[in-house]
Every structure is written in structure tokens, then in C-alpha cells.
């Protein structure tokens, strides 16, 4: 075997390197200079069996499950920027399954379970922290809505439970506002014990390392300019800044940029793109050990391991491809927060940002083969970080077998033809 054919195999074996206490000691002896690269940067080939556009969570998870569950390893994930630099790096990492619809809850229950196993599955520390989410309720209609959700969730083994106002305040001591004299007094709460947070970079890097070890390729700095269809109308490949790549199956996993790309194949999808925002405070001592969600006030936050308060802001009004937070949106979110957490007034805010997400009008995702044979989309991921493992598992199933996975069979494109929506009110946390 010539050397250049041997090298990838040698590399592949090295790649199988397990991260463990033993490997830490072994490489420690060499001052950590001997760690192999976590994934390769191989040359771009002219064609693949499957190309996935977008190295965010959904694209990477799909590639991982294609290789692992279906043995499809002649695959490439192409990414315009850098791996894990899209919304997976911009989100507030809330992982939960308190959704509303029969079609949604089992999907998110599965996703949460896969996240909890991910550290073991990928041999990469996800720093998973199953820390519970508490909804702070200030309105009876909201309380009735959440109780209704609880009854539906009970059927599917997700957890949601009502607690008293006193219990809410006991579990969140920093919640000192919303007392009896205020405009919207706190009337109680809902506890979702399945909820947690983890480390978004680890999700992207863990999948990338596993895909690489299984023989898949990741190509960064490779922007898809248009989708290319053959004479029969089916997908034939994609035009990138690095030339044409051929593939009979292409999956679009580009978050807010879905329609921009699918329009190049002559498709119209029922999605609009919005800019969702967030900001973080300076790090402080541990103060809040749950995810706090205040749907009536319109904000949510959790405290990161570093001590920063990670706070979710509102989206821009209207479609938006901006990536920052507008001053008045920011002020509104802050004043809502101070009404319940007056002591946060002393916090200095460090950074703010936004990200492009697309959403269908029923707020449920779209995971389907399009009218262009061989072209798949996974889109409409408004709160789609929590959905990454189940999204990848089920899309890989569809791409590999041509049949939808049981858990996602209702998230079709057809539902818009038949006006058979999956109206989901659990998609947004705080609104």
C-alpha cells in the first residue's frame, strides 16, 4: 500500500484515542505535546454519498448517526465559517422537554435522554448539569396553560409539577420582587426536573471527533453558494467557494439561512428568519442553582459554571438577519428582570449577541425530504439546541432509509400543503 493511502488509516487509529485518566497521564509526561488532533482536515473530494450543509449541532449530529447507525461513512459536512460557530455557539443551552403536543413531547424526551448519555457515548465531557428549570408564574391564565401542559406531559413520562409561591422563593432566594403589592405578584411555579444545561462547544467538538473517527469528513471555510439539480430535477450536488461537490443526497442544516439556500433550487419553504438575542453578566459567586424562566415577565436565565448570569432576551420584531440586540429590547428585558430580581441591578453586563433562527408558523420543526428528490431539510429550529441529538438521530434515519423515523414523522413539509399544523406553544421558553 502506498504511503499516502496508509496515512489516513494510521491517522484513523490514532483518532480512536480514548480520553481517559490514563491518556491524560501518558500525554502529561510529554508536557501535553503528544495529543493527536481531534479531527483531520482532509482534502475535499469531488463527490460523496451524502453531503450535509452546516456544521452546527443538527448537521454534525446527523453525520454522526449516519456513520454510526447506518454505516454511511462517505460523507462530508461543509461549513461556511468554523465548526460550531453558528447558533450552537450563540444559544443559552437550555435542555428541556416541557412541550405541549403529542407529536413533540416524545421527541424531546428522547433528546434529553440522549444528551444525558452523550458524555459516555462520545467520550467527551459535556459538563452536563441536570439542574431543573423553574417557571415563575404571575398570571392565572399562564398557570392554567402550564397545568394543561403538565397533564399532556404526564402521558409521555416528562416531568412537570406545580409548586407554591413559598416553595418558588425558597428555591430561588434571589427572587425578591413580585411581592403582594406589585403589579403582577408571583402566584406559584412549575418545576421541570428533566431540564439542564451543558457545554455547547463540547457538543460540536465531541460529534466532530466521533464523525472523524468513523471516517466522515468535516470541511470548514466551505460556503455553499447554490444547490445544483440534475436534468431529472433531483439533487446532483452543490456549488461552493471551493468548487462543485457532487452528491445524490444533500441535507440542509443551516439554521436561519434555510430559505436563502433552498431558493437556489427553486423551492419555497414556509419559514421566516428571526434574530433571537441574549446577554451575560460579569461572573459572581454561585447564587441561582436552577434555570429560572419567567414567562409572564418575558425573560429567562441561568448561572453558568463561570458564574455569569446568562440571560435570554427578546427577538427583533419582524424578520431579521441582524446579530445584535437593539437597545430598547435590551432595556425592556432588563427592566422585566429587575422587577423580579432587584438585586441584579448591581450586575455589570459583559456581552450581548443574537443569532439567526428560522421558524414555521406553527412553531414546530421541519425535517423532511423536499420536492427536490434527494434534498433534505432540517429547519424551523427555534429552540433547537435541546433537539440536536434526537434531530440527528431521526434525520439520519430518513436520509439513510428513505423512511421517516417514528419520532419525527409529523414534522413534515406536507403538513403545510394540508394545513395540518402541529401548533406548538412549548417552543419558546419565556414567551
Amino acid at each position: 500500500m502506498p504511503l499516502d493511502e496508509c496515512l489516513p488509516i494510521v491517522n484513523y487509529v490514532l483518532m480512536m484515542q480514548k480520553y481517559s485518566i490514563a491518556s491524560l497521564l501518558r500525554h502529561g509526561i510529554n508536557n501535553h505535546t503528544s495529543w493527536p488532533k481531534a479531527w483531520r482536515s482532509p482534502p475535499l473530494k469531488e463527490s460523496y454519498d451524502v453531503v450535509i450543509i452546516g456544521a452546527g449541532g443538527h448537521g454534525l449530529a446527523t453525520a454522526y448517526y449516519l456513520a454510526k447507525e447506518h454505516g454511511v461513512t462517505n460523507i462530508a459536512v461543509v461549513e461556511r465559517g468554523w465548526l460550531g460557530g453558528g447558533n450552537i455557539a450563540r444559544n443559552t443551552i437550555t435542555i428541556r422537554s416541557n412541550y405541549m403536543r403529542d407529536q413533540s413531547i416524545p421527541f424531546y424526551v428522547k433528546s434529553v435522554a440522549l444528551y444525558e448519555e452523550m458524555t459516555k457515548e462520545l467520550n467527551f465531557n459535556m459538563m452536563h448539569s441536570k439542574r431543573t428549570m423553574i417557571d415563575v408564574i404571575q398570571n392565572y391564565p399562564m398557570m392554567r396553560d402550564r397545568r394543561r401542559r403538565q397533564h399532556i406531559m404526564d402521558i409521555y413520562g416528562s416531568t412537570y409539577k406545580r409548586i407554591s409561591e413559598a416553595e418558588v422563593r425558597k428555591r430561588i432566594p434571589a427572587l425578591t420582587g413580585g411581592g403582594p403589592g406589585s403589579r403582577l405578584p408571583v402566584i406559584g411555579g412549575m418545576v421541570h426536573t428533566d431540564a439542564g444545561v451543558n457545554r455547547h462547544d463540547a457538543v460540536a467538538w465531541g460529534y466532530a471527533r466521533a464523525i472523524d473517527a468513523l471516517g466522515g469528513e468535516i470541511h470548514q471555510q466551505t460556503a455553499v453558494e447554490s444547490l445544483v439539480r440534475g436534468a431529472d430535477g433531483a439533487i446532483e450536488g452543490l456549488q461552493t467557494n471551493r468548487g462543485l461537490i457532487r452528491a445524490k443526497k444533500v441535507a440542509v442544516a443551516v439554521s436561519g439561512h434555510t430559505t436563502t439556500l433552498t431558493e437556489t433550487a427553486g423551492l419555497k419553504l414556509p419559514l421566516r428568519t428571526m434574530n433571537l438575542t441574549a446577554f451575560v453578566s460579569e461572573p459572581v459567586k454561585p447564587l441561582v442553582d436552577v434555570i429560572v424562566n419567567c414567562p409572564d415577565a418575558g425573560f429567562y436565565f441561568s448561572q453558568s459554571d463561570k458564574g455569569e448570569m446568562v440571560i435570554g432576551g427578546a427577538p427583533d420584531m419582524g424578520q431579521s438577519f441582524r446579530r445584535d440586540i437593539k437597545q430598547h429590547v435590551f432595556e425592556d428585558t432588563v427592566s422585566a428582570m429587575l422587577s423580579l430580581f432587584p438585586s441584579f441591578k448591581k450586575l455589570k453586563l459583559m456581552r450581548q449577541w443574537g443569532g439567526h433562527l428560522d421558524i414555521a408558523q406553527d412553531a414546530s420543526p421541519i425535517m423532511d425530504e423536499t420536492d427536490v428528490p434527494g434534498l433534505f431539510v432540517t429547519a424551523g429550529w427555534w429552540g433547537g439546541y435541546k433537539a440536536i441529538p434526537a434531530g440527528g438521530l431521526t434525520l439520519a434515519h430518513l436520509v439513510a432509509t428513505g423512511r421517516p423515523h417514528e419520532l419525527m414523522k409529523d414534522f413534515t413539509l406536507k403538513r403545510f400543503r394540508h394545513l395540518d399544523y402541529v401548533m406548538e406553544t412549548g417552543t419558546t421558553t419565556a414567551r
Binding site: L271, M317, G318, Q319, K326, Q327
Partner: protein, 85 residues
């Protein structure tokens, strides 16, 4: 922050407005249209990376409805193609 030009109040802060969605094509006559065209009308939203025509409601001001062209990348209010005469 956008300064939305209200025909009655002049340019006003966008926080005074409610968003009314992009301007949609005319509602087709349900008796004279195909099922596919009808579904398109109900579900398709213009989602351009660039100028979009949309409706805003001056709800915390004079209460009028108006439409503007806005660039979705910058939120600059821009001249629409139809407005140049």
C-alpha cells in the same frame, strides 16, 4: 433602533409600534384558485436577505397602520422598488 416615519406623527421610535407582518400578495378568490395556490397564500412568507415590505401599527401613538421597506440585514428603512416615481 428604527425611526419609523408615521404620516401623522413624523419619525418615531420603533418601540412605539407593533409589527404587522410582511405585506402579502392579495388574497386570492377561494373559488377561482387551486388548493396549492391557496396553501401557498396561507403559508408562504417573504423571507429575503435584504429589503422586505411590511406593515407596522403606531399602537402607542396615533394608531395608524403604515407600510415601509426595511432591509432585514441592517434594519435600515430603505426606498422600495415600487416607491420610486
Amino acid at each position: 433602533m428604527m425611526n419609523i416615519p408615521c404620516p401623522f406623527c413624523g419619525p418615531r421610535n420603533e418601540a412605539e409600534f407593533a409589527f404587522g407582518g410582511p405585506v402579502k400578495p392579495r388574497r386570492p378568490d377561494p373559488n377561482a384558485t387551486s388548493d396549492d395556490e391557496w396553501a401557498d397564500y396561507l403559508t408562504q412568507v417573504p423571507n429575503p436577505l435584504g429589503p422586505v415590505e411590511e406593515r407596522w401599527w403606531h399602537v402607542k401613538g396615533c394608531g395608524t397602520w403604515l407600510s415601509i421597506w426595511r432591509d432585514t440585514r441592517t434594519h435600515d428603512i430603505v426606498e422600495g422598488p415600487g416607491n420610486a416615481d
